[in-house]
Symmetry: none
Subunit: 144 residues, 2 copies
Amino acid sequence: MFLGEYSHSIDEKGRIAVPKKFRNELEKGLIITRGLDNCLFVFTDAEWQKLAEQLQKLPLTQASARSFVRLMFAGASEELLDKQGRISVPQFLREYAGIKKNVIVTGLFNRMEIWAEDAWTAYKQSAEENNSELAEQLAGIGII
Amino acid sequence: MFLGEYSHSIDEKGRIAVPKKFRNELEKGLIITRGLDNCLFVFTDAEWQKLAEQLQKLPLTQASARSFVRLMFAGASEELLDKQGRISVPQFLREYAGIKKNVIVTGLFNRMEIWAEDAWTAYKQSAEENNSELAEQLAGIGII
DNA sequence: ATAAATGTGGGGATAAGTGGGGAAATTGTG
DNA sequence: CACAATTTCCCCACTTATCCCCACATTTAT
């Protein structure tokens, strides 16, 4: 399970160190792809398989579904950890996430996320401001 | 599985290098044909077979189905990788896709696509702008 | 304080992508 | 049928990117 928040950096070759705690789950292969709010999602092969099957079922004949599927599949990349436990992030994904130098790596149960540091800071702040609303919604769902 | 986005170029002889990661799946033969949204589709023989069966089931009384079937079948061309892992794209397909020099090759699970660079850039941008739908689709699939 | 583990940086070997010459095959024409 | 013209494909050479490896820095543990 992926948990926690880590502050790492990307080097000139586009490599990011994966937190040690996540490496065991990812060492057999991982998929990195576009996420929401301009972050990147990282899945294990098994998790990706489930997702890919769902995506593939969407109708090719519908233009909106087609563009969505294209963004997800063309925006994905199969990677392996190098001997130092890093992944290299393709340039088009770095551009998408606005990643220059400092990144935040977070764990979210079944996936890892990679954020440009300033994007993460901004996102977290706005999320905290909406915290009370959020709590109410959660209560409605019956979590708390 | 075909995944990712690659920036390649076409040479004067009409050849395009297939990304290394795709070659194993395509080395036994491939079909290249007109795709949707002015790109080219590339299938393995096996995938083409499946698709051809689907196409034959379409109701030929419907004008749109008829034209779609014509598009796919009449534009299809059987190709092999050369020893450098390239395919040569017939001229009428290059014209269809508006391919001059720079192309983007994308992986879409069971097919590869070839785009003129500027066409892909434009397509991707407009797809990203419809991001709110995207989030809803993801939620529907059960990622979040 | 010392040792171990984790994260970062960069040199160098290896592989991938690109361009073009020339042989073989194909087509067309006298 | 012979020969020229064109196309196709194999091969070599070059450039650029990728990956492996070693080394250092920084943090954490003993």
